[in-house]
């Protein structure tokens, strides 16, 4: 079974968010990049499937050379092969189409993406890939079992869990629950050494035109200082919520 795990290179959660070039670009200066957490849940699940489903795991990112570091980390975690499609990732549509071009050349039974990235939070890439390829799709996926070419998936829905059965090929949007945080694999020295021997292929991009282009970034307005209310003045809190904030 062939699994593709799509990886997004994202700023660590604690990063300061700043913009440069007349607020048209995200300032990467001094920012630590990590594997998008939702993608990492998916990657861990894929690594488990090497044993349970005799799977072959390829990781892929769309990005420039700076993304190689996280691809090497994915290889150290246990992926068999890494691919980087060499271009700047501009929007979800062009990124998805670059991935789709690759999926048309190499057939995968299962494509795993994170349900959304923690930088742009669009949550678009998995659905777009599924739509372009006309594959089945389950996002917010919290469990997955593949047996005899059939997938059984659970999806978190508002107020519950939905179980579905699907033919392959399938695209999933992974999230916590598919594996737990404590299941995430920390690369050991052997993994890191082995990763150096594994292939990291760089493919040229098809240069697909972006359709959603961020022209200008803004920061949220400075928040007003918190209004502190004494614990024995709860009537005041209720009054503020009712008449000032108008939320109750």
């Amino acid at each position: 079974m062939n699994i593709l795990v799509c990886i997004s290179n994202v700023p660590d959660t604690t990063s300061k968010i700043n913009f440069i070039d007349n607020d048209s670009k995200f300032d990467k200066n001094g920012v630590q990049f990590i594997i998008n957490p939702n993608d990492e849940f998916g990657l861990t699940k894929a690594i488990w499937m090497k044993d349970s489903n005799n799977a072959n795991v390829t990781v892929l990112t769309v990005g420039d050379i700076s993304a190689d570091a996280i691809l090497r980390k994915c290889l150290a975690i246990g992926a068999d092969k890494a691919i980087r499609i060499d271009c700047e990732a501009i929007d979800a549509s062009s990124v998805s189409k670059e991935i789709v071009e690759h999926c048309n050349e190499v057939k995968y039974d299962l494509v795993i993406c994170g349900r959304e990235s923690i930088d742009y939070n669009g949550g678009l890439v998995p659905g777009l890939i599924a739509g372009y390829l006309d594959y089945n799709f389950v996002t917010n996926c919290v469990s997955l079992d593949i047996e005899n070419g059939k997938a059984k998936c659970s999806r978190e829905i508002s107020g519950g869990i939905e179980v579905s059965e699907s033919d392959l090929p399938l695209v999933i949007g992974a999230q916590k629950g598919l594996v737990e945080e404590s299941d995430l694999i920390i690369p050991n020295m052997r993994g890191i050494m082995m990763a150096r021997q594994k292939p990291l292929e760089v493919l040229s991009a098809k240069n697909i035109k972006a359709r959603a282009i961020d022209k200008k970034y803004f920061k949220p307005q400075e928040k007003a200082e918190v209004k502190l209310i004494k614990p024995d003045e709860l009537d005041k809190l209720i009054d503020l919520l009712e008449n000032e904030a108008k939320v109750i």
């Binding site: 799709f137 107020g159 519950g160």
Partner: protein, 316 residues
């Protein structure tokens, strides 16, 4: 050129988030100078859509759409888009709408943008504001493409009533075959869900143990709120995972978020940032959450919460 809204329903009731999408759709249709149409799926009582300015309501009734799957619902919406020559589709940001939006954009080769927080500033080029970096930033984004799909961030626009004709037309769809089927749905009934709630009451380790959660539940009940918890609380098994809100948990975009005994780690804030008003109750005045809060009480939750419950009950 027309604006179409997919008005999501549950058990025959149009969801509040869908009414917000319709309100947004109406404002956009007025800006463009076009009509506003809505589509409902297996919903027999769509009349409320009239009150939000809908000109026409396309009513799809089909057994193969009994259970939601993004593929079958995308397929149905695609047929409406094609028949009506729709150029802009508006979706709410419910889990299902976001789910099908991307899939539909792939099928129709449309341009999809999510987390939108306002009416387009400009129609040509089509420029719209959306949130990014977990609400630590916004971007003004130019969108091109013949079909634009816009998913609006919950509680960013609000409900605006408007009179519309609301003429209901049955829309017949071609058969949909699917190789994905829903086999089981387990759902808690009678509980407000985090996604649909106007108010969310959330608690963290400060509550000391699961046996104290009745305080959270009572407060939530009197406010008609959903209950939620921080990551450590769900990791320790005090509360189910489905209540975990934060970066790797559920996102919260409610009007009011009340955090009890949650210190406010950056990963937690990332998930709840887009809530409008935040109230923090914590006995540690140095808790980072106070910096992100609108109203704060430095005090002991075990004293404050019971009093707050009593006062809120008496108010009603």
């Amino acid at each position: 050129m027309g604006v179409l809204v997919y008005a999501e329903s549950e058990n025959n009731i149009i969801k509040k988030s869908a009414l917000e999408a319709v309100s947004y759709g109406k404002a956009l249709a007025e800006k463009i100078g076009s009509s506003l149409n809505c589509v409902v799926i297996n919903c027999s009582e769509p009349n409320i859509l009239k009150q939000y300015g809908t000109d026409k309501i396309f009513n799809i009734t089909n057994d193969s759409l009994k259970d939601f799957t993004s593929k079958s619902y995308s397929n149905a919406l695609q047929q409406v888009i094609k028949a009506e020559n729709t150029s802009i589709l508006i979706l709410s940001s419910s889990a299902d709408s976001k789910y099908l939006g991307a899939h539909l954009a792939g099928f129709t080769d449309g341009s999809f943008i999510s987390n939108v927080v306002g009416i387009p500033d400009n129609l040509d080029p089509f420029t719209v504001k959306r949130s990014c970096f977990t609400n630590k930033g916004f971007s003004s984004t130019e969108l091109t493409g013949d079909i634009k799909i816009i998913s609006i961030s919950a509680n960013s626009f609000g409900l605006i009533e408007n009179n519309g004709h609301g003429k209901i037309e049955d829309f017949h769809i071609e058969d949909i075959s699917s190789t994905i089927t829903v086999s089981n749905i387990e759902k808690q009934s009678g509980k407000v869900t985090i996604a649909d709630a106007d108010v969310v009451v959330s608690a963290g380790r400060g509550l000391k143990g699961p046996e104290n959660w009745h305080l959270v539940e009572e407060l939530a009940e009197v406010l008609g709120a959903a209950t939620a918890c921080s990551k450590p609380v769900s990791d320790m098994g005090w509360r189910p995972h489905s209540e975990h809100v934060g970066q790797t948990g559920k996102p919260v975009s409610s009007n009011l978020y009340i955090a009890i005994g949650i210190s406010g780690a950056i990963q937690h804030l990332a998930g709840i940032n887009s809530s409008k008003v935040k109230v923090v109750i914590n006995n540690d005045p140095e808790a980072p959450f106070f910096k992100a809060a609108d109203y704060g009480i430095v005090g002991d939750a075990f004293e404050v919460i019971p009093q707050l419950i009593t006062k809120l009950k008496n108010r009603k």
